[in-house]
Amino acid sequence: MNPKTNFDVRTIRKDFPNLNVHVHGKPLVYLDNAATTLKPRQVIDAISQHYREETSNVHRGVHFLSEQATKKYEKAREKIQHFLNAKESAEIIFTRGTTESINLVAQSYGRTFLKSGDEILISRMEHHSNIVPWQMLCEQVGCRLVVSPINEKGELIWDEFKKRLSAKTKLVSIVYVSNSLGTINPVGDIIDAGHHVGAKVLIDGAQAVSHTEIDVQGLNCDFFAFSGHKLFGPTGIGVLYGKRELLDKMPPYQGGGDMIATVTFEKTLYNVLPYKFEAGTPHVAGVIGLGAAVDYVQSLDRDKAEEHKEQLLAYGTQELLKIPGLRLIGTAKFKTAILAFVLPGIHPHDLGTLVDREGVAIRTGHHCTQPIMQFFNIPATSRASLSIYNTQKEIDTLVRAVKKAKTIFD
């Protein structure tokens, strides 16, 4: 059986033990995949095997286990290199996640190369993790954060974006796929436009990696950040990709073990890439788990997987809109399987609690994107975000649960 030619949801569901759980006596309907995805047994097993049989630090011993662990750790780096189509594995830096990756660029690249009068361009639809690190940098070096607006559908307004680019723009940092709206941004054009004015471009790929194939060389982005846990991998591990020519010029982000070549009290020589940016004992099990997650994703027929999610999105959109008064937030022409909505008379938190009692896990709140909520003039939304293992039947359960909640409030 070759799963590549046969995308079968039932088979996929068997890989995710967490789907068998019952919540409040009802089968779990997990629709919070933009927050974090469930983990397939292949990932759970890889982590468990590391702790059961291969526990060891990396890059630090000559004994068998340490060599084993180091080999797997570096093998995972190569897997991610190929997954992103980076030129070399040394351009893959392990971090705690998207948030830390962006902070690394802000503090290492930003503090070194940006100065008073320079500008950083982001958009209105950024996650807080792609806003706050830049605000901190602005306070530190006196540069300015410029925000590009969005329209009522939740799309970037291209002309307004272009207008905000100038010779002052030193960095552009944009989300590939919005976690609150599902909007897919035209990152290829964004990167080209940024380069045209001489800026470096960072892409927040947190939601994109599970949605589409990534080719950092093809895109020609300067930095790319993502989190393992949104790609069926473990929490606490993520990646920063950066072009070598930039990473080489950047100072270390943190000091400690592994990031040095030699240490004396007079002078410390830093290690080569990527170790320069990986101070201290890394999340070895996390890296191995992430390697297994990348293997898992690549074993799927990704076109079929996307097709499946697109069908779910179309079906979910159609069924939710049948609920009187329901308004979708995020109706971009190009969007991923994210269904965010508001219902008059029911606050999202009440809805979240009520559908949870039916076993349905959705996210309610501002989704770490308060500027989006301010734009739409709403305090919060309810968000169902879909993944490869979700089914039409689960969407029916969601819709039924929302309707039931509505009867309580009507």
Binding site: I346, H347, P348, H349, D350, L354, G365, P379, A380, I408
Partner: protein, 153 residues
């Protein structure tokens, strides 16, 4: 067909206070006010008080935006606190906090909570406890502040 346990939380009284919140207005003049915000939910409210010279609550109102639990809790807080002394208010706040954390059983333990006992189920919903307590913390913050001079104009 409302047989499931949601009724425990979303009881008619709470739904009613959510739909028709009492004392839902800005109070002008007020002697004490404070703003409360729950960044996790985005719940946001203001509590306004007017104390008498004898330190009893002559008027208490609230304004703002939030979920049904936070709105109903604020609404019921205002109806229960009107006319109360500061000492009674503090005592009620203390007992309410124990109630929503599952540490006070209104059927067994002596208390002055009255209709507020309706929130006794909320500790089964840990994520929602803060929704019920936001207004109380805001009220307390208002009382702990230096009183504003009441303008008569």
């Amino acid at each position: 067909m409302m047989t499931n346990d949601n009724q425990e939380l979303y009881q008619q009284v709470i739904l009613d206070h959510n739909k028709k919140p009492r004392n839902f207005a800005k109070l002008d003049p007020a002697t004490h006010t404070a703003e409360g915000y729950n960044p996790l939910c985005g719940d946001h409210l203001n509590v306004y008080l007017r104390l008498s010279p004898q330190h009893t609550i002559d008027e208490i109102t609230f304004s703002g935006d939030g979920c049904a639990i936070s709105k109903a809790s604020a609404s019921m807080m205002t109806t229960n606190l009107k006319g109360k002394s500061i000492d009674e208010t503090n005592k009620m706040f203390e007992q309410f906090r124990e109630l929503i954390n599952g540490k006070l059983n209104p059927q067994k333990d002596p208390n002055i909570l009255g209709r507020l006992a309706i929130f006794s189920n909320i500790w089964h919903y840990p994520a929602r406890v803060k929704c019920a307590s936001l207004c109380w913390h805001t009220m307390k913050a208002a009382l702990d502040k230096e009183p504003k001079a009441v303008s008569t104009e």
